[in-house]
């Protein structure tokens, strides 16, 4: 056959191909022609060629009709079982397709996964903490029956109770059981060294209040509630596992706490932690063991002015909380009559256990953190939705082609779904990893020192599931959008439109512009929130601690452990202090009962010439017992009067130095020197104010406002645990070895309980705030980056979609510069609308943030101005770059590319 004849045959065959649907023709034309040509080449002779044509013709006609009638025939003919196997195959195919597609757009994929990871991770981490602190019901059996009973503090706030008052409460028939607990940190001597142990002194009734079962051994018996009987301990189930390796022999063993032997009689209930969940308790100690915590605890048990115990009670059957409240009010009135000096007007409050928040001071921080991460989660959702929608629009042509090729709506939906699920899965895994990292960095951070013990902060599965589910829903909803569009639209129209010599259809245009508005608005809220938080963080770093902390090292020891007390202890302390002061490089050495910014005991004090606004005549005052060199060592200025001297000795006139806040609150700052105050319990023993020291944070740092407190000279007060402080010319951290040696040399029985620098101590005190702010800051910064990427993606995509149109404008003679300006102008309209919306929402959000912001105004102009400028810049770049590329491109190429 000649080449020419072959060409004619081929032409005829091509004409036949017109019978087929276009999608089929486009897909297989070349290969069908090849097959036809190979058959033609084989058919030698006119007769065989003539015989070929009817077959080819019938074949074409028959299959073309079949194809045009629909393609369900084969599938319908397939047996059910086989079809299901086919479905699985298809799923594998879908997943493979999804992976391939995600890998082909790595930036989109990474961006979306990062977005999901941040949203899910931050949420899981923060919710876990919030849940542990605020939401989780106490671990008691039938928790609705358990109430917390508080005696008012002198400020009229519900607070801890005096042990004698607890005894009175326990006699009330409204309760079936009443227990008192009091936490402490003890040093636990183990063969491998001394460690801190978190303990709670508690009564035998506690187990009945919790309603829980012991893991093994016994709980305390009522005779353990009396000082004088043997001191016993119950190890918590958690500590039994972590510290004893779950050894059954642990029960019956004797351990040494603060140098005293205590026998373990049982392993506590499985879920029971400390009274202050999520703080873990290592041991519960019987009341008979209170002396282990110090002799003063023995005295406490009978002193109505010392409020050391938290009271938990279980309501008697059939008794309501209201009835319990009435009974406690009656008790409060009775106590006020019996002890007018101490308890007149002091109320007793009953709260349902599940209504109680244990750390009110962390509540606002946690609430803020929750608000921020929730916002973040919503923004992450919105951002993800936007990314998916943008991509969906970009894929509408692909979807249309798939439709045209016969892929059913269901199949396309499946493709989109599988991709979204893959994304959500990846993001979820990354998010959980992120949450784990964040939570493992958390321990001890948000709690003030007395409670800074081990915390149980396992990721809560429900929260993880919730966050991931939210992301999956978002992903699915918006991932399906392109499939829905593809199903809804007429395919031909879509294909025609995207042959685009025209600009996009009005609906598409509106959708795209809407996306830009939403994206810009959400991003602005993110950027502004993040900005405010990071500026707040920066402000907290600059807070004045009041003391010159840079060169001070401390070592904590306990004089009681050397078996000394009273004047003898003071002599030993002075020896130790002089020893430390003699160390090379040390300019001053001092001792103090506590450090600034550290929770510590208060004393109920009567201040002469001052009437507290509420409650009793007395105020709760924090105090520090110090040696005379304290103020020099700390760099704390004496503003009025004088500091302590060696003449302020045990037998001399009793003196105190107050802080500025106290001088201000009690006497309006007028002539504080010479005024007097006394401990409420010690009638007639007044201390005279000899000076006013500059303010330093008392309980927390930063502390606003600084609480009133006083300093008492060590020679005139008793103490046991003590901080030895040294100011050095060199690096204070380098001093710890020498200080440790000094302690041991002075008396080998003195333990070294802790060492550090004052700076690191403040750092730890700040860590709660700093930690949360830093996490928020980092999360927000990442989110800002994502927001910027999001804006860039949406705007740039929008402009890039118009590349064909712009190319044509330029080809038709439009000035490229003017085309670029036109695009920028149009993009700007959406951006400005988004900025306006975002500003409004951000301003409202900032008002909510106000309480948490430190040293920054909620409507901080720097943050707001910077945020708006930043996002405008990003949007401008995103519009400018693709517009310029389109306008500058060779118009012919732009057309061909489309």
């Amino acid at each position: 056959m000649t080449a020419r004849a072959a060409r004619w045959h081929l032409r005829l065959f091509r004409a036949l191909l017109l019978a087929y649907p276009a999608w089929f023709r486009n897909a297989y034309r070349d290969e069908m022609e090849q097959l036809f040509l190979s058959r033609l080449a084989r058919a030698r002779g006119v007769r065989r060629v003539a015989a070929l044509w009817p077959r080819v013709g019938a074949d074409a006609l028959w299959t073309a009709i079949a194809l045009r009638r629909g393609r369900t025939e084969l599938r319908a003919a397939l047996p059910q079982r086989r079809r299901r196997a086919g479905g699985f195959d298809m799923l594998v195919q879908d997943i493979r397709h999804g992976v391939r597609h995600l890998m082909s757009t790595p930036i989109f994929t990474l961006g979306a996964v990062a977005l999901l990871a941040v949203g899910i991770g931050a949420n899981v981490a923060v919710f876990t903490v919030v849940d542990r602190f605020l939401l989780r019901p106490p671990p008691y059996d039938r928790p609705d029956e358990v109430v917390y009973v508080y005696q008012d503090s002198d400020d009229g706030e519900p607070s801890s109770a005096a042990f004698p008052a607890y005894r009175d409460m326990a006699e009330q028939p409204v309760f079936s059981a009443v227990a008192a607990t009091s936490p402490a940190q003890l040093s636990w001597e183990r063969p491998d060294g001394t460690v801190d142990a978190t303990v709670e002194f508690t009564t035998a009734s506690y187990l009945a209040v919790t309603g829980l079962e012991m893991v093994r051994g016994q709980w305390f018996s009522p005779h353990h509630d009396v000082v004088g009987s043997e001191p016993v301990a119950v190890v918590s189930a958690a500590a039994w596992r972590s510290r004893f390796g779950g050894d059954p022999e642990a029960v019956g063993r004797t351990i040494r706490l603060n140098g005293s032997p205590v026998t373990i009689i049982g392993v506590g209930p499985e879920s029971l932690g400390g009274t202050f969940a999520p703080v873990v308790t290592d041991f519960w100690l019987s009341i008979s063991a209170v002396a282990v915590g110090g002799q003063f605890r023995v005295g406490n048990l009978d002193r109505r002015e010392d409020h050391w115990y938290s009271v938990r009670a279980r309501l008697a059957p059939g008794v309501s909380v209201e009835q319990a409240r009435a009974a406690m009010q009656a008790l409060a009135t009775r106590l006020g009559e019996m002890y007018p000096e101490l308890d007149k007007g002091r109320g007793i409050t009953v709260q349902r256990a599940r209504d109680v928040r244990l750390f009110p001071e962390t509540e606002s921080t946690l609430a803020l953190a929750t608000a921020v991460v929730l916002t973040l989660l919503l923004l992450a959702c919105a951002n993800l939705a936007n990314l998916l929608l943008v991509r969906g629009i970009g894929r509408s042509r692909e979807m249309a082609i798939r439709c045209a090729l016969g892929a059913g709506g269901v199949r396309i939906a499946r493709l989109c779904l599988v991709e979204s699920l893959l994304l959500s899965l990846l993001g979820g895994i990354a998010g959980l990893v992120l949450a784990r990292v964040a939570l493992s960095a958390l321990p001890m951070a948000p709690l003030p020192p007395p409670f800074s013990a081990t915390m149980d902060l396992a990721i809560d599965g429900r929260i993880g599931v919730f966050s991931i589910a939210l992301m999956i829903v978002t992903g699915t909803l918006f991932g399906l959008a392109p499939a829905l569009r593809a199903a809804r639209r007429d395919v031909a129209g879509e294909l025609r439109e995207d042959q685009r010599v025209s600009s996009a259809g009005r609906a598409t245009m509106r959708l795209r512009n809407g996306l830009v508005v939403v994206q810009v608005a959400t991003s602005l809220v993110l950027v502004l929130t993040a900005g405010l938080l990071s500026r707040s963080l920066a402000a907290t770093q600059r807070v004045d601690t009041g003391v010159d902390a840079g060169r001070v090292a401390f070592t904590r020891t306990n004089l009681a452990r050397a078996g000394v007390s009273g004047p003898e202890a003071y002599v030993l302390l002075e020896q130790l202090r002089e020893r430390v002061e003699a160390l090379p490089g040390v300019t001053y050495a001092a001792a103090a009962s506590r450090l600034p910014a550290q929770f510590s005991g208060t004393t109920t004090t009567i201040v002469e010439g001052y009437t507290p606004p509420a409650g009793t005549e007395a105020v709760e005052l924090g105090f520090t017992v110090v040696t005379p060199q304290y103020f020099d060592t700390m760099g704390l200025r004496i503003l009025t009067g004088r500091g302590f001297t060696s003449s302020d000795a045990a037998g001399a006139d009793r003196v105190v130095i107050i802080n500025q806040a106290a001088a201000q609150q009690f006497w309006g700052g007028v002539a504080p020197v010479g005024r007097r105050l006394r401990s409420q319990g010690q009638t007639g023993v007044f201390r005279t104010v000899i000076g006013v020291a500059a303010d330093a944070p008392v309980n927390t740092y930063p502390e606003r406002p600084i609480r009133p407190m006083f300093y008492a000279p060590a020679a005139q007060a008793g103490f046991g645990p003590v901080y030895v402080l040294a100011r050095t010319e060199g690096d204070p951290a380098a001093l710890s070895g020498a200080m440790r040696a000094a302690v041991t040399e002075v008396r080998s029985s003195l333990p070294v309980l802790a060492q550090g620098t004052l700076e690191s101590h403040f750092g730890a005190a700040l860590s709660a705030l700093r930690f949360i702010t830093r996490v928020m800051g980092a999360t927000s910064a990442l989110a800002v980056l994502l927001a910027a990427l999001g804006i860039y993606a949406v705007v740039a995509f929008n402009v890039a979609q118009r590349a064909g149109e712009l190319g044509i404008r330029v080809a038709l003679g439009a000035n490229p510069g003017r085309v670029v300006r036109m695009v920028l102008g149009e993009a700007l309209v959406s951006v400005v609308a988004g900025l306006a919306g975002g500003l409004l929402v951000a301003a409202l959000a900032a008002r909510q943030l106000e309480s948490a912001l430190f040293g920054v105004q909620p409507l901080d102009p720097v943050t707001f101005g910077g945020g708006v400028a930043f996002l405008t810049g990003v949007a401008w770049l995103a519009a400018y770059l693709p517009a310029r590329r389109a306008a500058m491109a060779d118009p012919a190429r732009a057309l061909r590319a489309s």
Binding site: Y28, A77, R82, G86, F88
Partner: protein, 116 residues
């Protein structure tokens, strides 16, 4: 009662069956399938272009086969190759068994008696 979807009685279209048979040995492109079908049937079955490609399209859609990239040593790497899927193998085996049963039934009735 047997239903249409019962695998014991629902036949595969011959073209589909033969394509699956051809692909059960190795991945092939369209032309290769046509050649192999022809070879295996001793020249009895010649798939027309329409039949072949319509079947391929529908079989991909039904998940019996899928298209794969050409192997590295292929003469024309632009050509689309096809590979049988697990579902395809199940189908071809079921069909072969069905035919086997038919042949068995025919043999039982002595219809396959040697004409000699």
């Amino acid at each position: 009662m047997v239903t249409r979807s019962d695998p014991r009685v629902t036949p595969l279209r011959p073209a589909v069956f033969h394509i699956l048979l051809a692909l059960s040995v190795e991945d092939l492109h369209g032309l290769g399938i046509a050649d192999e079908v022809e070879r295996a049937s001793g020249g009895m079955l010649e798939l027309g272009p329409g039949t072949l490609y319509r079947s391929l399209a529908e079989m991909v859609d039904a998940g019996l086969i899928r298209s794969v990239r050409a192997p590295g040593d292929a003469a024309d790497p632009r050509r689309k190759y096809y590979r049988i899927t697990a579902a395809g193998r199940t189908s071809v085996a079921a069909e072969a068994r069905r035919l086997q049963r038919l042949v068995g039934a025919a043999r039982d009735r002595n219809v396959l008696r040697d004409p000699t």
